[in-house]
């Protein structure tokens, strides 16, 4: 029983046990907060250890309960957890984001919360969501991946409709329905894979698919792509996202935007490189990536609510990752992996900053905002760093990731790849335009110039949605930004800057991760125990 064998299941187990404990401590908010923070801190430490171990020893596979492959030639029967460099990186970045966001939510709850806030279910559900995300990143078989998706989706349904106000119920209904359809399509894909190969363990599926006819393989991949494409919000399966995310409370939107779509991207990477490595659908994926980028960002231009605007940029930038994956090259994959890490951090940070804007200025729509740069220079700084990072201004990590992807596109050299290089540059410029628009409207002009600048929400809302409008001048002064909200936002900005400052080592790590992902044989032999 090596160290890694003990560590591998912990990112799933700890949040699950934590969720149970916090549920029992429902009437003691302080104890709940301590348990949640402690659980997520331990998860961050465990994931960091896994990152170190996988980088040193290569792919680790754990057959839960000892139902692994036997010497008699029987394949693995039970649940398999696999960590390689890609999943370890995803785990580390997600756990840091999960910790920072919950810290932010707790800080907000302590400062602005009151008796009516439904905190007693918020933290347990949040921990279940964390467990689901970790399960999805660790899953070594398709059905366990499905269960991971379901766990995180069920938790996200509760978080999205928390308080059950009119807006949230409307958004929640659409979200639940679309997610359920994607789950059913995934389950359908699982049934078809089981029919074609007789197993669901990904390594074994990968081996057996080689003897399946090309047409069947393409059909299976297409079904799985539809399922993962809905989760990852790839155009034309992306329209649900900007409608449902913005109504949720700020920390919930932040963690959804950062993590949930990336779980879908991760699943696409696995399916594309491990199960269906022939790249038969690459042209289709490239076209989808181009359309995702352009249509997403054009949607963002038309929005006036900052949360919706950011949701559209989220959709748009998923296109970059799909672009990297669909190039089927080492540089493309490594750029995509680096870009996923960058985008999780930067998108979450921006949504947290919007939460701060909402608290300080009483609105998140550009029709009401103005003069924030003068009111709060700290807030302006907190916004401008991740915003420029998202827009891909050198030397930030967004620039580095995009350069890697564009270089990979140029290396590939096909007409479609060049089209995507052009589309990528255009999207980057339009992203910059979009964030500059937010900057000039919300931060630079005076609030009197805003068409509805005189209106504002009555009080800072924590988890409940209270759309009560009052005159801005009548609004009680909310005071300075709480340290409990500033610290995690600052911490995430620091993580984003670390991706820039340590770009060399991190990019070489993502290169090694890409090598490992593209080398199916070592994954298969790590799980099935073939020739080492």
């Amino acid at each position: 029983m090596s160290m890694a064998m003990v560590l591998t299941p912990l990112p799933v187990l700890i949040p699950m046990v934590g969720a149970a404990l916090t549920l029992f401590a429902g009437r003691r908010p302080r104890l709940q907060r301590v348990i949640t923070l402690a659980a997520l801190c331990v998860v961050v430490a465990v994931c960091a250890a896994l990152l170190y171990l996988t980088d040193r020893d290569g792919t680790l596979a754990l057959h839960v309960g000892g139902w692994g492959p036997t010497s008699a030639g029987v394949g693995p029967l039970g649940i398999t957890l696999v960590v390689d460099r890609l999943s370890a990186l995803m785990l580390v970045v997600s756990s840091i984001v999960l910790l920072c966001v919950v810290f932010y939510a707790i800080g907000q709850g302590i400062r602005d919360g009151d008796e009516r806030q439904p905190v007693s279910i918020f933290l347990p559900t949040y921990l279940v969501l964390s467990a689901g995300v970790c399960t999805a990143f660790l899953a070594g078989d398709l059905f366990n991946l499905f269960v991971g998706f379901e766990v995180l989706l069920s938790a996200s349904f509760v978080l999205l409709t928390i308080g059950a106000s009119k807006d949230r119920v409307r958004a929640g209904i659409a979200y639940v329905m679309v997610s359920m359809v994607s789950s059913l399509v995934f389950l359908f894909g699982i049934a078809l894979v089981y029919a074609a190969t007789g197993t669901l363990n990904m390594a074994e599926v990968a081996v057996r698919l080689d003897s399946v006819s090309a047409g069947t393989r393409t059909a299976l991949f297409a079904v799985l792509l539809v399922a993962f494409g809905i989760k990852a919000a790839v155009f034309p399966l992306s329209t649900w996202l900007p409608d449902s995310y913005p109504t949720a409370p700020a920390p919930v939107t932040a963690v959804f935007a950062g993590l949930l779509t990336k779980v879908g991207v991760y699943a696409i990477i696995r399916a594309h490189s491990l199960l269906f490595p022939t790249g038969g659908l690459d042209p289709l994926l490239l076209v989808a990536a181009l359309l995702t980028m352009l249509i997403g960002i054009l949607g963002a231009i038309a929005q006036s609510d900052i949360k919706r605007l950011l949701s559209f940029t989220l959709v748009s930038h998923i296109g970059y990752m799909v672009f990297g994956i669909a190039l089927s090259s080492q540089l493309g994959m490594s750029g995509a992996i680096y870009y996923v890490a960058h985008h999780i951090v930067v998108q979450t940070t921006l949504f947290l900053v919007v939460g701060l804007i909402e608290r300080q200025a009483g609105a998140s729509t550009l029709q009401r905002l103005g003069g924030l740069a003068a009111v709060s220079p700290v807030l302006a700084f907190l916004f401008v760093v991740p915003a420029l990072n998202l827009g891909g201004i050198p030397p930030f990590s967004g620039f580095i990731g995009k350069v890697a992807l564009l270089e990979a596109g140029a290396q590939s050299g096909s007409v479609l790849a060049w089209l995507l290089v052009g589309g990528g540059v255009l999207t980057s410029l339009l992203t910059l335009y979009v964030v500059t628009r937010v900057w000039t409207k919300a931060f630079w002009r005076s609030r009197e110039d805003a068409p509805e600048g005189h209106l504002s929400a009555a009080a800072p809302s924590v988890l409940l949605d209270e759309p009560e409008d009052i005159q801005f001048v009548d609004r009680d002064h909310v005071g300075r930004m709480p340290v409990g909200m500033l610290l995690p936002t600052g911490a995430l900005i620091t993580v984003g800057l670390t991706l820039t400052v340590l770009a060399g080592p991190i990019f070489s790590y993502s290169g090694r991760a890409a090598d490992e992902v593209l080398d199916r044989q070592q994954y298969i032999s790590a799980v099935l125990g073939g020739p080492q």
């Binding site: 069920s154 359920m180 059913l184 089981y194 029919a195 038309a302």
Partner: protein, 156 residues
Amino acid sequence: MTTFLVPLLLIGGLTSAGVYLLLERNLTRMLLGLLLIGNAINLLILTVGSASGNPPIRGRTSNGDTTTADPLAQGMILTAIVISMGIAAFVLALTYRSYRLNTAEEVSDDPEDTRVSQLAERDGVPLEDDRPEPDKAKDTDAPDELDALPGLEGSR
């Protein structure tokens, strides 16, 4: 591997009925659609698993079968049933809440979407401006040109 036609027809029928219901706007029908598709997929998993036979418990036989049924397919179906039951309960709660709030159990349009889509019709107006209030004074009960359409005369 032998497959039987009847389960396959049943799967196809359930799926198409489910998709039809899912395209409705009424939430109860959409939920029923989801459940039908879920059952169709469960049936599909059962069909594509290996041949039927003895229950997958050591030492149990029935009807003198020589093969053992596929335990994995049954395990997966059980998991899928539990998950869909939980989600169905949640959707029902959400439907009831939506009915209490809106006295309607339908999927409604996103108001912000509607607002943005109407912006295109008003060229040259800055994005942030509010939509002008409709002129309510014009909305009277007096007969207008629409009432003079053939066949509708005097319909008021």
